[in-house]
């Protein structure tokens, strides 16, 4: 068997290239990019590549998911915990279209993915051949870049470009579609990594004048406020963020995807912004005199009504993607470039500060939120179990060290609000697309991308059933993920909106669910159901202590709501506590 290292050796010895098939070349490209795990599903148009995967199984771990959507989400989970490029592979036609949801999710959440699809042979393109679909056309709006390879000789250059584009600058998904003839053809293989593309400027240069202007604003602000986003994690700027907030003493809040970049217990970490974010950070966005946005994009779920968002404040926007500047919120001082470098360079220009009285305002708001919301979520006195107390037990049992992978709905908001993190890259969730069904497959990828870490998936009874077949992947690979289903027998988040905004008309949100414990046991996964408070702590501890995969279902109060809440289109000032 020939791996890429032996190939390179031969090249340097003889100066000749190696003659291999396109399919084998795909594997060598993946190995040369340092890929160790890929997620996928075979089929006619990708069979030559699968045949090579069979030969290379000692070098490249292929995980057979139970649906191609699961492959993309698993690749996303892998990418998000590891900071590396996730890889998914599928056949043409339905295999390719099944990838689309995950690709769209990766696009909006800036997750680096390379998706490889098989395609009918070149001579059949455009003939409506069996399982031909225009996946390039379909995926164009949801990829950072895509390309159809029709000859084997294009493979090395395009694969190298795909990985470079996926991970550089603002990361994103790339799709490479490879016709079957290109997989069969032989050609002279030679690989070199891509380091630049002339039409593409992934990291704008930092303008030092802007840094000085930003520093002046920060140094003179009386009530400055930081909101950081996933840019901090993608830019590996966690240390710089910490140094920045500690020197300036500025209260700092996070968007959902920014969670975990700064430890939850850090005294300057004031919580989450957005629709179900914390009371103080939302309210005080409209009281600060300077808003410092670090690697975040002012999503509408963060800002609410733009015409009443932070109008009183000057805005500094640190951002890698020029298209985000002034897109939603006007930036008085835009600082384009890599946020890690920008924060490092601005630090010496900043004055030390404490902003003590301003922090008191945050603390007072927190006290109100604690009294009216948090206390009842985490330490309920009523009989029914709350989602919040489940998260709190997981916090305790995992000592704030778990990677929390959440699905979409009420349980997601509760998980993001209450999960405690000591370590970055620990909150994996579908933020921008809000894809139900994300968490179960993403947790598989997360555990494989960070095997040393505890991975706990928090899923609603609705979303669980969107990708429940991935229990098969967990059973087959024995990947030790801990699955927690918070069962309220409702599509809870939609039901909450129906209650609040549609006079309690619960149209198609109540669910008659199967016996989830029996289903998990059918996959030979140990499974427990908790219905009473006194069993919760013990069950969670047992789950965390277990070696292999584990399923825990918690029956929670059916009609609880998530608060605080900024209703769609409302101002962040109108955040509701009930």
């Amino acid at each position: 068997m020939m791996d890429v290292k032996t190939i390179k050796k031969e090249q340097s010895k003889t100066g000749t290239k190696v003659r291999i098939t396109g399919a084998e070349a795909v594997i060598h490209c993946l190995l040369a990019e340092g890929v160790d795990t890929i997620y996928g599903y075979p089929g006619g148009a990708i069979m030559p590549v699968y045949d090579e995967l069979y030969k290379f199984q000692d070098k490249l771990h292929h995980v057979l998911t139970r649906h191609e959507q699961g492959a993309t989400h698993a690749a996303q989970g892998y990418a998000r915990v590891s900071g590396r490029v996730g890889v998914a592979i599928a056949t043409s036609g339905p295999g390719a279209t099944n990838l689309v949801t995950g690709i769209a999710d990766a696009q909006i959440d800036s997750t680096p993915l390379v998706c490889i699809t098989g395609q009918v042979a070149r001579h059949l393109l455009g003939s409506d051949a069996f399982q031909e679909t225009d996946i390039i056309g379909i995926s164009t709006p949801v990829t950072k870049w895509n390309y159809q390879i029709t000859k084997a000789s294009e493979i090395p250059e395009i694969m190298a470009k795909a990985f470079y584009i996926a991970r550089s600058g603002r990361p994103g998904p790339v799709l490479v579609d490879i016709t079957k003839n290109a997989q069969f053809e032989e050609f002279d293989f030679e690989y070199s990594k891509c380091t630049a593309v002339r039409s593409y400027n992934p990291v704008p240069k930092i303008d030092t004048e802007k840094l000085q202007q930003a520093a002046d604003l920060i140094n003179s602000a009386k009530k400055p406020f930081i909101i950081w986003g996933q840019g901090i994690i993608l830019g590996k700027a966690e240390e710089e963020l910490k140094a920045f907030v500690e020197k300036t003493g500025i209260p700092a809040a996070w968007t959902i995807l920014g969670a975990s970049a700064l430890s939850s217990s850090h005294p300057l970490n004031v919580g989450m912004v957005g629709m179900h974010g914390n009371y103080g950070p939302n309210l005080l966005t409209n009281e600060c005199d300077l808003l410092i946005a670090l690697g975040m994009r002012f999503d509408d779920r963060v800002t609410g009504d733009l015409s009443t968002y932070a109008r009183q404040a000057k805005v500094i926007h640190f951002e890698i993607d020029p298209a985000e500047i002034n897109k939603n919120v006007h930036a008085d001082v835009p600082v384009l470039g890599n946020v890690k470098d920008a924060l490092e360079q601005i630090l010496p220009l900043l004055k030390e500060n404490k902003h003590e009285s301003w922090h008191e305002v945050f603390k007072a708001k927190y006290a109100i939120e604690f009294d009216q919301v948090i206390k009842n979520d985490l330490y309920p006195e009523k009989e029914g179990l709350t989602m919040g107390e489940v998260i709190e037990s997981i916090n305790e049992a995992s000592k704030h060290e778990a990677v929390i992978v959440s699905d979409v709905g009420q349980h997601q908001m509760i998980a993001c609000r209450y999960a405690k993190f000591n370590t970055s890259k620990s909150n994996i969730t579908s933020g921008g697309l809000g894809t139900m069904g994300f968490a179960l497959p993403a947790s598989i990828g997360a555990k494989m991308g960070a095997p040393e870490r505890e991975v706990v998936a928090i899923i609603g009874d609705g979303g669980y059933q969107m990708t429940i077949q991935e229990l098969g992947t967990i059973f087959q690979t024995k990947v030790p993920v801990k699955i927690v289903v918070l069962n309220n027998e409702f599509l809870g988040m939609v039901r909450q909106w129906q209650q609040l905004f549609f006079d309690k008309r619960y149209a198609s949100t109540e669910m008659t669910n199967p016996d989830f414990v029996t289903i998990a046991k059918g996959y030979h996964i140990p499974a427990v159901r908790v219905t009473k408070r006194e069993d919760l702590k013990g069950a969670v501890e047992e789950m965390i202590a277990s070696e292999g995969p584990y399923f825990l279902e918690v029956m929670v109060e059916k009609e609880d709501n998530v608060f605080p809440m900024v209703p769609t289109g409302a101002s962040v000032s109108d955040v509701r506590l009930s």
Partner: protein, 178 residues
């Protein structure tokens, strides 16, 4: 409400197959109608130039240009208003030949409009007119009463008054990578 204006968007790009699709999707998503589109070579070998005309607000055009620029295969994108560019469109009119002799006035119209006769066949002749949209429309309205067999107008082509520095950008890239 911000004022709507005509903007000319100039895109310099690699010659890549799917790029037109990517770019048109950016307009589609925002329900912004493309008034005209022209794709051609540019002053630089292997570099394509798109000229897209839209009628919208400056906020939107800035936003769109940001999204276009972000596409990997786009080298750079600019937008200008009509004062900042030299531009024209070209129209072809196919007209029945007998009208030239039956309707003496037509010869005057053609002469006054500074259009060119491209070809004359036994049954028809073709005139071309290059200029601004209103000049073409004026000629159209004058010829229309006599009967036009076919009419077609091209997308806008334009060059900017200020420099766009694409060659310098590409040179800088080469210097950085070698």
């Amino acid at each position: 409400m911000e004022e709507r204006k005509t903007f000319t968007i100039s895109i310099y790009s690699e010659n890549s197959v799917g790029l037109l699709n990517r770019i048109s999707g950016i307009f589609l998503k925002r329900h912004i109608n493309i008034e005209s589109l022209n794709v051609s070579g540019s002053e630089i070998e292997d570099v394509m130039r798109f000229i897209i005309v839209v009628n919208t607000t400056e906020t939107w055009v800035r936003n769109i240009v940001g999204q276009i620029n972000k596409q990997v295969d786009v080298i750079n994108t600019y937008y200008h208003d009509d004062e900042q560019t030299i531009f024209l469109e070209t129209a072809l009119f196919k007209i029945a030949s007998h009208l030239l002799f039956d309707e003496r006035q037509i010869q005057n119209i053609i002469k006054e409009s500074h259009s060119d006769i491209v070809t004359v066949a036994r049954d028809f002749f073709v005139i071309s007119k290059s200029g601004r949209r209103d000049e073409i429309e004026e000629l159209y309205s004058k010829l229309r009463p006599y009967g036009i067999m076919q009419f077609v107008r091209s997308g806008r082509v334009s060059v900017s008054k200020s420099e766009m520095h694409i060659s310098a950008m590409l040179r800088a890239f080469q210097n950085e990578t070698v």
